[in-house]
Amino acid sequence: MAISVLQERETSIGGSSASSIALAFSSSLTSGSSIHTAGGTLNTATSLSASGSRNGTYGTALDTINDTNGNAQYRAAHWRFDNSAAGSETVTVTPNTSASFLAICIREIGSTSGYDSAHNASNQTAPGTGTDALTSGNMTPSVQPGCVSAFSFDDWSGSGAPNAGTGFTAGLTGWALGGASTCLRTEFKRYIATTALPATFTAINGTEGHITLAALFKEASSGAMTGASALVVGETGTLTGAGALAGSSALTIGQTGSLKGTGVLAGASALQFGQTGALAATGALAGTSALLIGQTGALAGTGALAGTSALTIGETGSLAAPGALTGSAALTLGASATADLPSGAMVGSSALTLSASATLSAFGALIGNCQIIFDASGVVPSLQTTPTEVPAGRRIRNIYRVTIDGQVFECRTLQEALTLLDQAKQLAEKVAEDEAIWQIPRKPPVITVSSRELRKPAAQAKREIKATYDRAAVHAELRMLFELSRRQEEDDTLLLLM
């Protein structure tokens, strides 16, 4: 949310000396807000202080102006207080000695990460009525976005509150100082650059003195939603910032959502996207974070889904990052999915469940106790054993793959593979006994093996099967010749009888 003035009020009294003046904010303060306060009194008081009922002292004034010109004889100051506690707040301004024409103006600035270490103030005796002729002087933001919060008032006769400067949003008018008309104007401007800028106003009475007080405040971004904060965004939402959603924060986005930032969703944070969602960050979903995306979802970032994080994507899903799904992370993709995981993906006891068509491609993926389940079609480009440490003196166990006429058989042991080859030979013997199939000469099977140890037995098996088939072919030819010979003898016998 953009930085803004959430609420503001003012009060002032006329020519009775007062030892303090206090004013409550109309509404409870939002946690984390900044308070910008201005106060003034006749300069019979040499200093002013400000404090809050909830937040305590507001510290040293940012600026104090003592206007000894003309009819002024007025002293004004402004203060800021950052990271306010939530709840009601009454601000009190106290001069060091009782003085008349005491005044106070209070502003709550929301969605801020606090004062930006830049402020300025001016005392202009005859500013004229030119546009933006009243100016605080330049202030340089250290970051952007942020805002200028400013006060300006006619401190001579109070004959009129100045107008807001060009590009500024006018706030309240006030400080009647016991009279019938106001002399104070507040204003606000959000900026998105770090170039120096002043607070400007336009005077109504250009021949009277004016005091202008201004300060810069930073818009909240880094470290947003810490603690147990909750954020619900109805439709499109974007959250950008380092350390966002730390702690047990929860973020729910009704439709399209985007979350970008280092360390996002750390701790026990939860993120839910109703439809499309994207999460791109280093260390995203660390800790016990959970991410749920109703339809399309993408997660890309180094170390994503570390710890016991869980990721559920209702339909299409994509996960691409080194070290993704480490620890006991779980990934569930409801429909088509691409888990394009580089080295080391799904280590530990990670689990991957793909309900429909899915592709998993990575080197060294599924290390340790990982599980992969395809409910429907799935493609795993290569499957090979992962070397693991074994006690000294024991052999590293391999998979023995035997392919016969394109049909792959995988065996855990050499003996199992040799038995398979023996079974192939026995099958060939059985086939050879079937006379019917030998009307057409049969070719021996194509046998390939993955292990050097199996090459000789496989070659021997092929020779024996070929010999079996050759013998069967010779026997079939002899049987055919005998048959022809028998039929010839029958024909000769019939001719003699006739």
Binding site: Q7, E8, R9, E10, T11, S12, I13, G14, G15, S16, S17, A18, S19, S20, I21, A22, L23, A24, S26, S27, L42, N71, Q73, S88, T90, S98, S100, F101, L102, S157, G158, S159, G160, A161, L172, T173, G174, A176, L177, G178, G179, A180, S181, T182, C183, I204
Partner: protein, 130 residues
């Protein structure tokens, strides 16, 4: 142009001598919904203390539920010095104005309490500003 407020009297506290102690509260009727603030005009009889010590603290509370609950709104502590204009002319009336930013509120009332710290003669007129 300078903003001029339209004042409507809501409550009058007659000028009287007040002895130390809490006086009031003096409660207004329901204030207009369209309200930018209120003003309290104080009067004295020319005998206002001039010893420099605090004389009284005036506290205003506000209700937005027709007087069922009250919350602190503003206060000022007046001291024992003569009331003057900015140019130093002694006067017997002064104004205290307070803005309100929740315009449109219905069922709103204010009430005024005075904690008298030393004997004084004081009266007040409470007006709404719109």
């Amino acid at each position: 142009m300078a903003k001029q407020f339209a004042k409507t009297t809501q409550l009058t506290i007659p000028l009287r001598t007040l002895t130390p102690g809490l006086k009031g509260p003096f409660t207004s009727g329901t204030l207009p919904a369209a309200l930018s603030g209120y003003q309290i005009d104080f009067q004295n009889d020319g005998t206002w203390p001039t010893n420099g010590n605090d004389v009284c603290t005036i506290t205003v509370e506000q209700s937005n539920d027709s007087g069922q609950s009250w919350v602190f709104d503003a206060s000022v502590t007046l001291s024992g010095q003569a009331w003057t204009t900015k140019q130093g002319t002694v006067v017997n009336t002064i104004g205290w104005s307070v803005s309100l930013d929740n315009q449109g509120s219905t069922g709103r009332q204010i009430r005024v309490s005075v904690n008298v710290l030393q004997t004084c003669t004081l009266g007040a007129t409470v007006s709404s500003l719109s």
